[in-house]
Symmetry: C2
DNA sequence: GCCTGATGTTGACATCATTAACATCCCTCT
DNA sequence: AGAGGGATGTTAATGATGTCAACATCAGGC
């Protein structure tokens, strides 16, 4: 097959563009973020005319979409690697907790290692108006999109299964976990924590993860002035997308 | 003075452009986000030549910066309003906790009410290379920037002062709190929770706030298999910017 | 062995940011 | 008061971008 390789021009017009363009565009995103994903530039890198890209993508937005997918894939892989490479687990509950922590740490790790790709992975897309999609098998984004999200959710299920987290807190928990981790990543990349020493970033990450996990696993405050609680709008329906 | 008003053309060239441009650009951002802040469009709205803007801004990036400031201001004001309008406080500790909660809710409220402005408020800026700044008294961004961040930090101080939150957890806590709230906002705006019923969004928000606050205030798990804790990289140095 | 469709190319257009050169108008200094 | 100067805007031009229409080329099936 020889796909997505530089020497892939088999005498054909190119071999397989599309993948070559995706690779070029991903490189652009790697240093420069989503706004650096310029259709003409990608075509230039591949050594092809700008309009050639329109044979494989509906336009620049579609190309960016492909880059997003690359970014999401990389993120999920880093998270899985981080969770897989964690040390021994004293107990089942401990293991589940450590997995949540490792996934969160992997999330931050990827964001810091590949800031451009990370930003591209979560950049806003004009949202195709549905209906007539151009060339290229445009799959349902929800399958690969936000795979990191599902990883987190499954880890939280483990937290409940081992009894570490009350089942009543489970609904919406993946939202909370994702929000905390993603917000931290954004804060570290673009926010006031832009230039910070690595060990400080790690410390903040550990602190945030500890706090959120404690929020999931800690018992309810014993001497509460509110038995039912006025802000008891907790535990919402769990329905994503 | 008659500034920033539509009828402000006092026979002068315009009265005060700059503010008129900022207003126009802010309107553009309101529906369309930061990428809709197009210099030429803003100038067109004000009824002025595109290059006229260069007398008041170094370029489009500078104009966007002004819009960011508007967004940050709006965000902080919504948060303060939300925190100020909260009900009675049974105890000091309870009040501090409710303030944190109200600030977070205000954060989300603004993000949902003004999605374009919110995104503009946190959009990436090329970061002026320091040194020769163009026209316009370019103040230090850290003063108005991230005012919401400071609000959150002060509320957390209150949490410690009333004894609700152990002092040892305070360092880095504003990072955690900000991350959770900001991540949730992004998730609701651009993420998988894009189109969700309002009451569900409120429920998720309440759930996230409850979890994080519990993480701040809950006692350490009593029957822990780890007395000192292997993941005790908590409590990092507190140094922003 | 030619025709059809996939794949690329050239040319053109509209928009954008930005600069240079020029015009205008108010304010201040003498 | 009147002239100059600086602030404020305008026109013209440049280079980059996304995108479309028309044309060229190559592979493989009838």
């Amino acid at each position: 097959m020889m796909r997505t390789e530089g020497t892939g021009k088999s005498g054909y017009h190119h071999g397989d563009l599309r993948n070559a363009l995706i690779e070029a565009a991903t490189d652009l995103a790697r240093d420069g973020g989503p706004e650096a994903v310029v259709l003409r530039a990608a075509a230039r890198r591949v050594g092809v005319s700008p309009t050639a890209a329109y044979r494989h993508f509906t336009g620049q937005g579609d190309l960016l979409m492909a880059v997003k997918e690359q970014g999401q894939r990389g993120l999920a892989e880093t998270m899985e690697r981080s969770a897989g490479a964690r040390g021994g687990s004293p107990s089942a509950g401990e293991a589940a907790e450590e997995r949540v922590r490792a996934l969160g740490a992997g999330y931050i790790e990827f964001a810091l290692a590949e800031p451009g790709l990370f930003r591209a992975a979560f950049c806003r897309t004009p949202e195709a108006p549905d209906g007539g999609h151009g060339p290229g098998p445009e799959e349902d984004p929800s399958r690969w999109m936000y795979r990191s999200f599902r990883l987190l959710a499954e880890a939280l299920d483990g937290l409940v299964a081992t009894g570490r987290m009350p089942a009543g807190r489970r609904p919406g928990a993946e939202i909370t976990a994702w929000a905390a981790v993603h917000g931290l990543a954004v804060l570290l990349l673009d926010g006031p924590l832009g230039r910070l020493a690595p060990e400080q970033r790690d410390a903040f990450t550990a602190s945030a993860l500890t706090t959120v996990i404690r929020g999931f696993t800690a018992p309810e405050r014993p001497s509460a002035t509110r038995p039912a609680g006025p802000a008891a709008k907790d535990a919402p329906e769990h329905d994503v997308s």
